[in-house]
Symmetry: D2
Subunit: 150 residues, 4 copies
């Protein structure tokens, strides 16, 4: 059976997700349109959670979605049509409603982009709320023990 989309894999504290570059990802410059890297980063964060046992549908059933507070991105090299990229995701810290994530995108040994992300659990009315136990339990084992960002 080959029927499930890949959720990537976890190695130590880091999650890795392969991403292919399609027509939809490029722009007329021939390179990947910069905003699309945020889509790949979000796929990485979502697949990490999936492998750790949390689906967005479960969060939704607890009136919870994840919204971004800030994102600091560096675009290091350009990706192109047909490229096979690898998204690395580390959940570094989780405190109350806030989540700190560090991510990168590689093509082989070439660093394509990096992101430092702060996110937040929200209710579907848009208000910040503590991360549900489901999320804390799933991500807890992967946090950075030396993190002092909060």
């Amino acid at each position: 059976m080959h029927e499930a989309p890949s959720s990537g894999w976890i190695d130590g504290r880091a999650h890795f997700l392969p991403v292919r570059i399609y027509y939809e990802d490029t722009d007329f410059s021939g390179l990947v349109y910069h905003a699309n890297y945020l889509r790949y980063f979000e796929r990485g964060r979502s697949e990490f959670l999936r492998l750790a046992g949390v689906h967005h549908t479960q969060l939704l059933a607890q009136d919870t979605a994840i919204a971004l507070l800030s994102m600091n991105m560096q675009f290091r090299a350009a990706a192109r049509i047909d490229d096979a990229l690898l998204v690395r995701t580390n959940y570094d810290a989780l405190h109350g409603p806030r989540i700190v994530v560090s991510q990168s995108i590689m093509r082989g040994d070439t660093l394509i982009a990096e992101a430092a992300v702060e996110a937040c659990c929200i209710s579907l009315t848009g208000r910040a709320k503590r991360a549900p136990k489901l999320l804390v339990d799933a991500v807890g084992a992967y946090l950075d023990p030396t993190s002092s960002r909060f």
Copy 2:
């Protein structure tokens, strides 16, 4: 004051919405990525409704969204970065939950794309439901009196 985004204008039964082509709209072939024309068609349908007095937030407050049933598209010519396009939208028929729309996209005198669209009112659980009175009242005056598509 120039602060509102343009909702285009209605001329007879037809609505017209100007659309600019940006980086985000193109792909590495140098042309507009085909799926993006569906975004412009949807903007046209939404702005027609807005000028006719219906906002999606009002429909939402009545547990109504609009989902597509079918779309028959012809791509006639290519659009490129910086192009100024004009989306024409006609609401042709409205019957129970179903909505029939015909649309085209022009660049000056050049036909870029055409679409025959069937849509449907749904509740947010995804079930078909009759078009709310709000929608019927707003669109009624613009329907095609000769339409016999239902």
Copy 3:
């Protein structure tokens, strides 16, 4: 090694590609935004070509991209966040510059969407051109022997 994105698999004449639904794919109705199905269909057509031995970069090196002429889509059921979909792609006919493809998207046994697609080889200046030998050789074995659409 798990480092490559999946290109799906070919079974008989048909290619199958698993696709996961992310935040980026949905809209405020809670369902997948309709234009995004065109992105999955395009991924399916591209991965079929990749497995058959043709990369877009190779076509590009021969001044060839693939543009759509028409697309007839039926939206049969709604997909949602976290869904695992399967895109089926059949290349049915190839004649001069024109390519005929039929596609569907399933979630388990549920038909989500279908598309009848006509595409065309173009040069990067946007003109139609015969399909390069590379493409004809790769796709030839998978065409529909009973096709009489041209």
Copy 4:
């Protein structure tokens, strides 16, 4: 005649572009999908250039596109379907290939998002190159005279 898409307006050093939120912009949380703010920021940068006399097609004719080096974004409040937003863009500095831009998005008096952007002129092969005279002449009058970021 109402046929041109709005390019917004320039007031002092700042450019303003109205943007409407459509189905395509939202996700299942009911809010605007975060990566889409980068699309509005890019539209703002492009329309500023257009009003200042530079079209991407002209840059392209000089083998120049604009790629991002870094982007530091703060998401301050959520936007929703039907919202009318206003993108403010300031070109602060231009030095060799590099461009520094500061941007914000408002909904009325509410700050939705802010971005500090570093971009770079590239050739279509992806290499950094000095900003063409066309660009320097157009943007020069709007730069921040106190900028010392380089």
